[in-house]
Amino acid sequence: MSAASASGNVIRKYLPVYFVLIGIFLVELLLSFRIASTSKLVIVLLLLAVCSAALGLMYFMHLGQERRGLFLTLIPVTIFVLLMMNMWWSDSVRLLHMRPMGQ
């Protein structure tokens, strides 16, 4: 197989991932017109964004093809930091009013 035809194959190989990403975006667009509740819309769109990001990471950035150690070093820690950020932000709102949660 020549180098030129082999490099054309990579586009064909990842074309399904490309169309899935476009599809997820179109679903997000449709849902943004259908769901009226902002908080519900944010949660649904975030879940779909996580799916898109996972596809991008595993296929476009080839994280799925690297050693599992790289994935385990980078991704769980990042998710932990982002989740902790979620805790800090809500706590900062509580501290702003200097009162316990729920009051």
Binding site: A3, Y18, L21, E28, F33, L41, G56, G69, V81
Partner: protein, 202 residues
């Protein structure tokens, strides 16, 4: 011994084997990407809390903006595909094809930036600026940070393409720059729904 072989097998008895079996350049880019992801994460969490907690939030995006965003998104995702082609062609030693894919990626990145600036100018024309309230502040900060990444990526791709063409950089450099470009695309997958799609005028 090639760079990737050295990463896998190490340099004999002098150095330990890399635990991740990737060149240090690529691992450094991964660490940068993670730190940048946390930066964007902090901005988006702050935006999310402000957005949900603020009643009467401005929803300025009408049909024209939605069409613009659809084109921007398709352009950016397509640029990731052309970047994959560039990396693959570079690894296979097909420099001409790698250059064509790199220039396509740069062109798509530039189109994205132009469409982004057009969106900004329309909003500014309607009186929404960075100092015109919570929406303006969060919108221009987050999209501005992303636009800065896109423009930096186009410049980085241009520099890498020119040096790769001249034989001063290797396919490994193209691959590392490609990682950054895919990350820019990945961030847009969060910026788009949170900043644009939750603010469409109904």
């Amino acid at each position: 011994m090639s760079e990737s072989e050295a990463a896998v097998h190490g340099h004999g008895a002098l150095m330990e084997e890399s635990p991740y079996a990737i060149p240090s350049r690529k691992f450094t880019m991964w660490l940068f990407i993670i730190s940048d992801a946390v930066t964007f994460g902090s901005f988006l969490f702050a935006y999310g809390y402000i957005r949900v907690a603020t009643p009467n939030w401005v929803r300025p995006f009408e049909t024209g903006s939605v069409v613009n965003v659809v084109i921007m998104t398709i352009v950016l995702i397509t640029s990731s595909l052309t970047m994959l082609g560039a990396v693959d062609a570079a690894k296979l030693g097909d420099k001409g094809k790698a250059m064509r894919f790199l220039y396509s990626t740069m062109m798509l990145g530039a189109i994205f930036a132009i469409l982004h600036l057009r969106e900004w100018s329309e909003l500014i024309g309607k009186g929404t600026t960075i100092s015109s309230g919570l929406f303006g502040q969060t919108f221009f900060t987050i999209t501005g940070l992303h636009l800065l990444h896109v423009i930096s990526g186009v410049i980085a791709l241009l520099v890498v393409a020119m040096k790769y063409s001249g034989g001063r950089l290797t396919p490994s450099h193209v691959e590392t720059t490609g990682l950054y470009w895919h990350f820019v695309d990945l961030v847009w997958m969060f910026v788009l729904p949170l900043v644009y799609l939750t603010n469409i005028a109904h």
